[in-house]
């Protein structure tokens, strides 16, 4: 990207003053190397977001930003319903509430080493992954609606986990305001047998070793100890979320002129929050958030079953669960005033600082765990929300490494089998139904996650706590 387009506010903050139809500035958080490598589309998409009605303060992009649909992936924008603000199906994305959760095992990597192969094989057969895989749960119409209303709480009521888990999930495991009646029959049809499945693409279940601690105090509070192993799960709302995204994107594109909205890009499709379409989407999207939370909760249960069998007595306690693709009504201070805003995070993580009332009691004084998933062979990170971060990008941080190369290029550059062997040589066991899928997800096709996390830390979006290295990766 051409750096001359920006005003450099600091070493890691780049600003574009409003031009053309932009209502607010655009701000990118990244170091010079990351922003240079960013696709020009990020600039175009972010400045387009800044033109949307009712946008507040600025359109933001995280250090892992890349070319998305309408919004860049790694984009954050907040809207005021009373100022004509909009909700955008493109601003949330197709995989609604795709996210990451991480669990303690309390076991050291050394203790797990002799059982690594067995754990990898058992997790791969027990957790459905990949195209066409189905879960054990079949939902009838009434159960489907109960799941869409209850989220992870519904799962816990059905013996998938415990009440203690709910405390460590955003929205305490259940997004309020979900309206299953706004979810089409087609979307429900896609979900009938998909609860408790990982999906494919960049979704995974990993065993990871904590290899470095940066912030001892926060690590203690999150109970992260160097040398111990955690389980991380990355997946979303499956077919239901994809179908809701598809259907509302279409409706919003067609309705935009009637709402007096001039879309610079069809993927930016949106509707006024205070319109029947906007409200219908919010009701359906919140149901999809609950679907994702229920899905990760059921997968957690499956992982616990495997551990109970292979390593009896192991307790997998949830550290936290974050969602990446959401629109949430939150209170933020803008120009000294407290305002209720609809915050869109497309490929970005909520990062509430210490004292935030939404945090569980036992973490409120330290801040929210911010879980950053890396690519298959590289590292993942755990960060913590900060006081300073609350005033930047509406308390948001990056969400992962972000792709730097297309799937097409990746399959030309890497061969799945060779990659699996190479990673095995580094002590990382890959299990996947598709070798081409593995090649498409090659670690080299992603940005350097460490550089992304470093930039997020330096920009004050969130603070580094620990680094995790993969031991086993179950790929969808």
């Amino acid at each position: 990207m051409n750096l001359a387009q920006f005003e450099r506010v600091s070493e890691v903050e780049w600003r574009v003053a409003p031009f053309g139809k932009m209502r607010v500035p655009a701000v990118i958080y990244a170091d010079e190397a990351l922003i240079r490598e960013m696709d020009d589309k990020v600039f175009e998409q972010l400045t387009n977001v800044a033109t949307l009605p009712g946008i507040v303060q600025a359109a933001y992009a995280m250090p892992d930003a890349h070319w998305g649909y309408g919004f860049p992936i790694g984009g954050v924008a907040a809207f005021d319903a009373d100022a004509g603000g909009v909700v955008s199906a493109g601003g949330v994305g197709f995989d609604i509430s795709c996210g990451v959760r991480t669990l303690h095992t309390g076991l050291t990597a050394a203790a797990i080493a002799p059982l690594k192969q067995r754990l990898a094989d058992r997790l791969f057969t027990h957790v459905p992954a990949g195209v066409g895989s189905t879960g054990q749960v079949r939902l009838n119409a009434a159960e489907m609606d109960a799941m869409l209303r209850g989220g992870a709480r519904w799962a816990v009521e059905h013996d998938y986990g415990s009440a203690a888990d709910l405390d460590r999930i955003e929205e305490h495991g259940c997004m309020a305001g979900a309206e299953p009646g706004q979810v089409s029959e087609q979307a429900k049809r896609r979900q009938r047998d998909e609860i408790g499945t990982l999906g494919s693409g960049n979704h995974y279940l990993e065993l990871q070793e904590i290899v470095e601690i940066y912030d001892g105090k926060a690590a203690d509070r999150f109970r992260l100890r160097q040398g111990e192993v955690v389980v991380s799960i990355h997946c979303g709302s499956r077919g239901l979320g994809h179908q809701i995204g598809t259907e509302f994107l279409r409706q919003m594109v067609i309705a935009a002129p009637g709402h007096g909205i001039d879309l610079p890009d069809r993927e930016l499709a949106c509707a006024p929050i205070q319109s029947s379409l906007g409200q219908a989407y919010l009701g359906a999207m919140r149901a999809a958030v609950n679907c994702a939370l229920a899905n990760r909760q059921v997968i957690t249960h499956l992982a616990r079953e495997v551990f109970a069998d292979v390593l009896p007595g192991t307790h997998l306690a949830l550290i936290y669960d974050v969602s990446h693709n959401t629109c949430k009504l939150e209170t933020h201070t803008v120009d000294g005033q407290s305002r209720r805003l609809y915050v869109h995070r497309k490929g970005a993580t909520r990062a509430f600082g210490p004292g935030h009332p939404a945090l569980p009691n036992d973490l409120r004084d330290i801040g929210q765990p911010v879980l950053i998933g890396g690519s298959m062979g590289t590292a993942s990170y755990i960060l913590v929300g900060t006081e300073a971060g609350m005033a930047r990008a509406f308390a948001s941080a990056c969400h992962g490494a972000g792709r730097s190369m297309s799937r097409h290029q990746a399959t030309r550059q890497w061969h799945g089998r060779a990659l699996v062997d190479e990673l095995a040589g580094q002590g990382i066991l890959i299990r996947s139904p598709s070798l081409r899928g593995v090649a498409e997800e090659a670690p080299g096709a992603y940005k350097d996650v460490s550089a992304v996390v470093e930039a997020a830390d330096r920009a004050g979006l969130a603070r580094k706590v620990a680094k995790l290295k993969p031991l086993v990766c179950i790929k969808g």
Binding site: H66, G130, H242, Q243, E267, S406, R407, G437
Partner: protein, 140 residues
């Protein structure tokens, strides 16, 4: 028919699909094949199960997205892959039969699931040589 083919084009996070043919319907058929090829080799998919699809949209570009999304819904809900298509388009109304078979992970080695067809790089029209072209990016 001559000159009928499909291809993929790169997108940073996802995959672009393009169908080319002598008619609008042929280009739509080829685009659908290109979408199957995102998941698996279409030659490995036996066309022995038929599904009827109908859709209608305000214009040809939205019709392409609707057509692909209708296929994605059937692929996901019935766990099918498609390899043969017969399409009739009148105005902006499409009527089609898609043939395929159930996904078999051992046989098809599916690389990735298609989540949705998008409006990114969406184009339907004639190219310089007068052939019909239908393309967009699919989210995977």
């Amino acid at each position: 028919m001559s000159g009928m083919h499909w291809e993929h084009f790169p997108h940073q996070a996802d995959m672009g699909i393009r169908g080319i043919g002598p008619t609008l319907a042929a280009a739509f058929e080829q685009a659908a094949l290109a979408m199957t090829a995102v998941v698996t080799d279409p030659a490995r998919v036996v066309p022995d199960q038929a599904v009827e699809i109908r859709c209608e949209a305000p214009d040809d570009e939205l019709l392409l997205v609707d057509w692909l999304n209708a296929l994605i819904l059937e692929m996901a809900a019935r766990h099918l892959l498609f390899s043969r298509f017969e399409i009739h388009i009148e105005g902006h109304r499409l009527q089609a039969t898609a043939w395929g078979e159930a996904v078999d992970p051992d046989k098809h080695r599916p690389a990735v699931e298609v989540k949705g067809a998008t409006y990114t790089a969406l184009k339907v029209g004639r190219n310089e040589s007068g052939q019909w072209l239908a393309q967009c990016v699919v989210d995977v």
